[in-house]
Symmetry: C2
Subunit: 383 residues, 2 copies
């Protein structure tokens, strides 16, 4: 047997900037980034695709972006800003996906051009996927506008859309060219949206950073009032922890089965689907965290005091702990099917993150359904 | 301005094996590869998707594969082998793409499972794209069955489908888990297919390896008779040169505009489209090589003797030098539009590979249309 060996590595780099009023002419962050990417003799295009939840509250955006680009050389703004419906629905609509692909084609967006997505995690996931597969990958810039997308989904390397009711069935790993977290956008979020966005911070603190969890406990009051400075700190630390894991754990494109950042997510994904996305992602994850924390305690992995602190913080942040669709009647119950679906999406062996302590995740490879049912019932009856 | 820096690199490795009768039970190459990927406690699935041009001539394949897997542990063969229409048409059919995505879903192919594509470059491009975006990327193995796919398309890192008449408009860069070049399949190729598959060898020799070009000149007679040993050497050297470029030139996922391996391809892509894929890829590239070689000579870059040798070799290999749709009436001519489309697909500045000598490519950033027209007319009238 004879063979040729192929072997190479690809380096990926990007920055996540923290800024305000990004397209105010006085703010040079975005312009500086573009300048750093300018190349002599190449006129690069930028196509903006914006979440309608953003344009609704920031109707100055089109004019502001147009004005901003008047002073930028070497880049060509596609004048019409594309507006797409926001929220999970945008990821369920294959026609919208192809409409965007066609839009890239019509504007002759090439591999040196940039597709800029402005919006929540849903729109960014959709736009990222469009960019990743058009011309085998055009560059994309993300401007996340929700707490969740600024602290988690928008700063990572994944994109995707739902297919046949399966969450993120189609997608790729495709690092962005840059991310700009603009605090200004957060002011117009629904209470439900910014509140549920904080859940990813609770999640990542629980598996990786006890000190961050302490900080959230002591700032819970400020956080529920959406105190801007507290929210900024939460977003930044949460983004940092996510990015450190992606860049530092040796498996940025998730070829293994280990997914600690998916703590609390196996049941959450199923609940989102079962409620037809009535539950926000963060709300579902809050329930998922509560469930897996109680389960960790019931199996003796986590102590009672830690469990109390977790439940207390979620309640103080006014995040949900339970949903009737969690109910386990028998092994055929929907939420049990979620376990297998989670395994399948990750592939390989079932791998579920649980807690050994606050700040310390631990993976297990099987779930005892009787104990899981007990955990569900406790969440229903006890708090 | 404050920011978080992300930075990581991803290592990619795969082997291209050379073998015969791959699913004969006596051949352990494929089994050995699987064994090297076995993991305790994980049962990995294999889903086979096969080009109907292959099954037509190798109707034993389904039975042979089934028998082969009887002795393999830790892997589960999905019993039904999926057969898809071969040829470029398979890349034009979005419904076929989704039918395959659904098939992966139905068989619960997860990220530790393998999708095995057996077929020509077209089917492999389609199957590779399906695998690359399902669950954000399931593993795939390629078994190329044409000269072109064994020496070029199947050993590289790209996949894709055509969209809205634009070649490879949708696709990704996704290295395979392994490639198996099985010489047995080549025996049943149409003469047109194996002959046109040799063009990529002429191409890569011209830009990178004068010695290989010499070898082809001295073996032209044997090659036109499809002498197995000569064909094997040609395929292996061609694959090696392609792989060395992908792995060694510092830009495996083509983020820059430089694409020496696309020598002869700018006009070829357009000719394929203009002839509605009546021309084989290799035939179109042969014409494209002839065109860009004559152009190189007309601009003084290449000497007359080298040009003669190139034209002579293409003719000896019975490859075409001209097609009426090449004709340039004026700046609006279709083939001229192909230049801009080529630039757009690569992005950035127009970058065309020409020749300084046999074995030495050289990039230029503009094309003189008057000289190009002269080159077309020479190809029409002179040889
Ligand atoms: N790619 C990843 O790594 C990753 C990680 C976690 C979550 N996600 C995905 O992110 C999605 C959830 O994202 P999300 O929580 O940001 O919600 P979302 O994108 O669904 O947006 C929620 C709502 O807020 C609106 N909105 C957005 N920005 C606004 C603003 N500034 N002011 C007012 N309204 C605004 C939207 O129009 C929408 O109606 C899910 O699809 C989830 O799967 C992806
Ligand atoms: N991904 C890449 O990097 C890359 C590079 C170069 C070309 N390509 C693509 O490859 C495609 C061309 O591939 P191709 O030249 O292999 O042709 P092809 O895949 O179009 O196949 C040509 C014909 O041969 C038949 N066939 C395949 N194997 C056979 C066998 N063993 N015996 C008999 N018939 C057989 C097919 O059914 C088809 O009818 C084009 O779409 C081109 O764009 C891709
Ligand atoms: Zn999440
Ligand atoms: Zn080619």
């Amino acid at each position: 047997m004879s063979y040729i060996q192929q072997s190479f590595s690809v380096q990926f780099e990007y920055k996540v900037f923290f800024t305000e009023k990004i397209f105010d002419t006085a703010n040079t962050d975005f312009a500086n980034f573009l300048e750093s990417r300018a190349e002599k003799g190449i006129r690069k295009k930028l196509l903006f695709i914006v979440d309608d939840g953003v344009t609704k509250h920031h109707d100055y955006l089109q004019d502001q972006i147009t004005a901003y680009f008047e002073n930028i050389d070497g880049f060509e703004l596609i004048q019409d800003i594309i507006v797409v419906p926001g929220g999970e629905a945008s990821k369920n609509d294959l026609q919208l996906f192809y409409w965007l692909v066609n839009t890239l084609d019509q504007h002759a967006i090439d591999r040196h051009s940039y597709v800029v997505g402005i919006g929540g995690g849903s729109v960014l996931d959709l736009v990222g996927y469009v960019a990743a597969v058009s011309h085998r990958g055009v560059k994309h810039i993300r401007i996340p506008t929700t707490v969740l997308s600024q602290n988690d989904s928008g700063v990572g390397v994944k994109n995707g859309i739902n297919y046949h009711g399966k969450k993120n069935f189609l997608g790729t790993f495709a690092p962005p060219a840059a991310v700009f977290n603009d605090a200004t956008f957060l002011a117009t979020l629904d209470e439900r949206d910014w509140r549920s966005g904080m859940v990813e911070a609770v999640k990542v603190a629980l598996i990786k950073d006890a000190g961050f969890f302490d900080w959230m406990e002591s700032h819970a009051g400020l956080l529920t009032q959406a105190d801007p400075a507290s929210l900024q700190y939460l977003i930044r630390r949460c983004a940092e922890l996510h990015m450190a894991h992606i860049g530092g754990a040796g498996d940025p494109f998730e070829s293994g089965s280990s997914r600690p950042l998916d703590f609390g997510h196996w049941s959450a994904h199923k609940l989102e689907q079962l409620t037809d996305f009535e539950l926000r992602h963060g709300e579902a994850v809050s329930i998922g965290i509560a469930l897996d924390s109680v389960y960790s305690w019931l199996t003796g992995m986590l102590d009672a005091d830690s469990l109390d602190r977790i439940i207390k913080l979620l309640k103080e942040l006014r995040l949900p702990l339970y949903h009737p669709l969690l109910e386990i009647e028998d092994d055929q119950s929907a939420i049990v099917a979620g376990l297998e679906e989670f395994r399948e999406h990750l592939g390989g062996q079932l791998t579920i993150s649980l807690l050994r302590a606050i700040g310390k995740g631990q993976e297990v490879h099987s779930i005892d359904l009787a104990i899981l049912r007990k955990a569900v019932n406790m969440l229903r009856d006890k708090w």
